[in-house]
Amino acid sequence: MSAVETVLAPPTVRRHGGGLRVDSLDIRAEGRGRSERIVRDLTFDLAPGAALGIVGESGSGKSLTAKAIIGLLPANVLATGIIEFDGKSLLDATEPELRAVRGATIALVMQDPFTMLHPLQRVGATITESLVPEVRRDRERARNEVVRRLAEVGLDPSVAARRTFELSGGMRQRVGIAAALAKDPALLIADEPTTALDASTQSDVLALLGGIQRARGMSLVLITHDLGVAFGVCDRILVMYAGSLMELGAARDLRDDAQHPYTRALMRAAPPITHVLERFDPIPGNVPRPGTVESQCPFAARCEFAVDTCRTVRPEPIAVTPGHGVACLRLDAVRASLRRSDGATLLRVEEPQAAPDVARVSGLTKSYRRNAARPAIDGVSFSIGEGEALGLVGGTGSGKSTIARCMMGLATADSGEIVVGGLDVSDFAGLTIAQRREAYRTEQMVFQDPYASLNPKLSIGAALTEALEIRGGGRTEVPELLERVGLPAEYATRMPHTLSGGERQRVAIARALAIRPRILICDEPVAALDVSVQAQILELLRTTQAEQGMSMLFITHDLAVVRQMTTRLLVCHNGVIVEEGPTERVLDHPEHRYTRQLRAAVDTSRSPEEERLA
């Protein structure tokens, strides 16, 4: 405990309050006669006017910590310990007292800008509602205030008259921030504020948040799963894993000298945009439930440095330098390894070879509504060579998923031609059953959401058997298939809901591979997975693609991922392919304005590893 306190000496001058102290915070879920500890013994503080990033994967307890601060824990979840805000205890506060604090001195920005605003209210009304009563009652003042607030978040005054559904995701999140700031809180808690946004919008909103925080001298707690995001905005960073503090320190210290094996593994797991990794460096295994790792290091099972004591003793945070605490028993071993290694492997990518086409798309156009302002995709043409890994990047609404859906016959194009393996599949409804089967033996798809792409009522074995039967195989091949995607054969009897997201995605990949397709279409296959698990799936996809000589259409919003996975790249914007070429060339020397914009957005939140190499 004392070690942690010395770690956390507040460095900033107090401007107008906003200091937060959290000490020995435990959060438990009670219910059904059991109690599970979700957050354990968490201690940190936040100086007035500082920005703290809480970084963690799903199940790390980061969002519950935020909810505990603002007193919005679900009914069966209890927090104990100390949470003090400007010297006042928040855990002991009554509901009316908390209500006076919420919004006024501590405000919250939520993750999903698409559902957090009243869908029918005008933006002006949304912001006015949050203003302090004196201003709100005076119409003239309220109107001026709304204009001023919109300007602060970079929106035009005319936005005040618009309704939520007329705004883009980025604009909605700006409105959300403006509403949260309306009472001039001393502390703003932002829970994954940019996760639902496009890469380029994401960097704008983050820059805005950081700018406002500094300009106002307001305290900020930014909750995110993305270390890069936290580096970009925060002074200090707290890394959580399975309900426990792993590492806490100044952003600069963590960037350049992260010491906890988990923090380091997280950084390595995020692929770089500047070069292609020879091998991904995934963290093996899955995130454990906090309750199962109560009296040990939560990361022990996945840690390369773990020894027996890690599995029996819970590490307390130790100050490695003033202000930098690490909860690890094996710090010496970790440091020793740092001195030894650190030669990143660079892989030169060969120029893509011209190969005969397996699939060709030409002049593909599709509108979802008859009178849509512009079609979802508009005259898209490309081809995929035998054994080629083709990337397709673009933001939300760029039409990239529509292309995949049309190719797979899940949507029918208005016009244009799709030829897959010599078969014209432009109109699946017009194909005979035999032709349709033939098409699906040629092309298979891996979907984004592994939580919904497996039938919940079908065991893993049954699902895979069904796919194997299409190729004339059967149940006997299931163990081999599971092994190929890195799962034990016993998984055949399991039901999907007993598997983690990463494991489910492996099953979904196995199901597609069972059919031995010539083209695998992957639509954002890792977007729904935890950061530490993503690299596992990418590695699996990349090696199978190479080993089988299979073609792949890899759809993603993530430029760093597409660099690792593909040799040729298409950039899709507003339903049009705006740039096309070898992945290396497109990413390093983008020609189109939109590609440059995407690339620039990534550069602002690069990890230090890449910066060193660049």
Partner: protein
């Protein structure tokens, strides 16, 4: 079959400890009536049709727990023996409704378009008919018995099953696992039977239970009006009608069948609701 067994083996064991007391009571009530329905003639203390005109209507006594009716017949025995016919009709209605309704609902939901239009509009048309009135007219005019009654009630309650199954199907159809099944080149029949049906099963079963409850009430109402019933046979609905003039002497003549009807309807409704909540709660994970 083996695949089904495989699927079950992986399913989590449901613990019986968390069954709420209301469900235990409802299940016990339903089981008692089910037992009476099957073994009623063996359990009944008297022949239900045995008349004792000398005794006539009498209040409950040690010999006749629920008293006797105007012909001196034992009300308790008549109540028990009537359980079988009272449940048999509605059970057949529920099964028929769900077989037809679930199939049509699945088809409408899965294929959409023209198929959906036709099925849904016909369902709406049937829905708009005043059910009880149609039943009275059709059964009355055709002088039908039990089976015509079953057919008519099944017909008028089928839109409920169609709509419920259709909307449950629509909720599933957009999920990627259905798209994945399509892109494996599986036949429509296989997708509907193997992938969709298990995932809408909870809705189908609940619908069947609610249709059963509706049918019990409609059967009783028709019997009360002496439509579609055999004169003289023990029947909850006719007992209610006959008992109206006797309440001052023996309240049980009318109270017993009324309570029986309510008890069966309520217990099945409670069980159905609970089962649906559990099933959909689990599917949501």
């Amino acid at each position: 079959m083996s695949r089904l067994a495989e699927a079950r083996a992986g399913a989590p064991r449901r613990s019986l400890r968390r069954v709420p007391i209301s469900i235990v009571v409802a299940a016990a009530t339903a089981l008692v009536f089910l037992f009476l329905a099957v073994f009623g003639t063996l359990v009944a203390p008297y022949d239900p049709d045995l008349q004792d005109l000398a005794l006539g209507v009498a209040p409950p006594s040690a010999a006749h727990w629920l008293g006797t009716d105007q012909l001196g017949r034992d009300v308790f025995s008549r109540l028990i023996v009537a359980t079988g016919p009272a449940l048999a009709g509605p059970i057949v209605v529920a099964i028929a409704t769900v077989l037809v309704g679930a199939s049509l609902g699945l088809l409408a939901g899965y294929f959409g378009g023209r198929t959906d239009d036709i099925i849904s509009r016909v369902a709406d048309l049937i829905w708009s008919l005043p059910g009880l009135l149609v039943a009275i007219v059709v059964i009355g005019v055709l002088q039908g018995g039990l089976w015509l009654t079953v057919a008519v009630i099944a017909f008028i309650s089928s839109p409920h099953a169609i709509r419920q199954t259709r909307s449950a199907t629509l909720a599933q159809i957009g999920l990627p696992y259905v798209a994945a099944a399509r892109t494996m080149g599986l036949s429509d029949v296989r997708i509907v039977v193997r992938h969709l049906l298990p995932n809408v099963r909870a809705t189908v079963i609940t619908t069947a239970m609610l249709d059963f409850v509706t049918a019990i009430l409609v059967f009783a109402a028709l019997a009360f009006l002496r439509i579609g019933v055999e004169p003289g046979a023990a029947n909850w609905g006719t007992m209610l009608a006959d008992g109206q003039t006797l309440i001052t002497v023996n309240l049980a003549v009318i109270a017993a069948p009324a309570i029986a009807i309510v008890a069966v309807a309520a217990s099945i409704t409670v069980i159905g609701d609970w089962g649906h909540e559990r099933a959909t709660g689990e599917a949501g994970r």
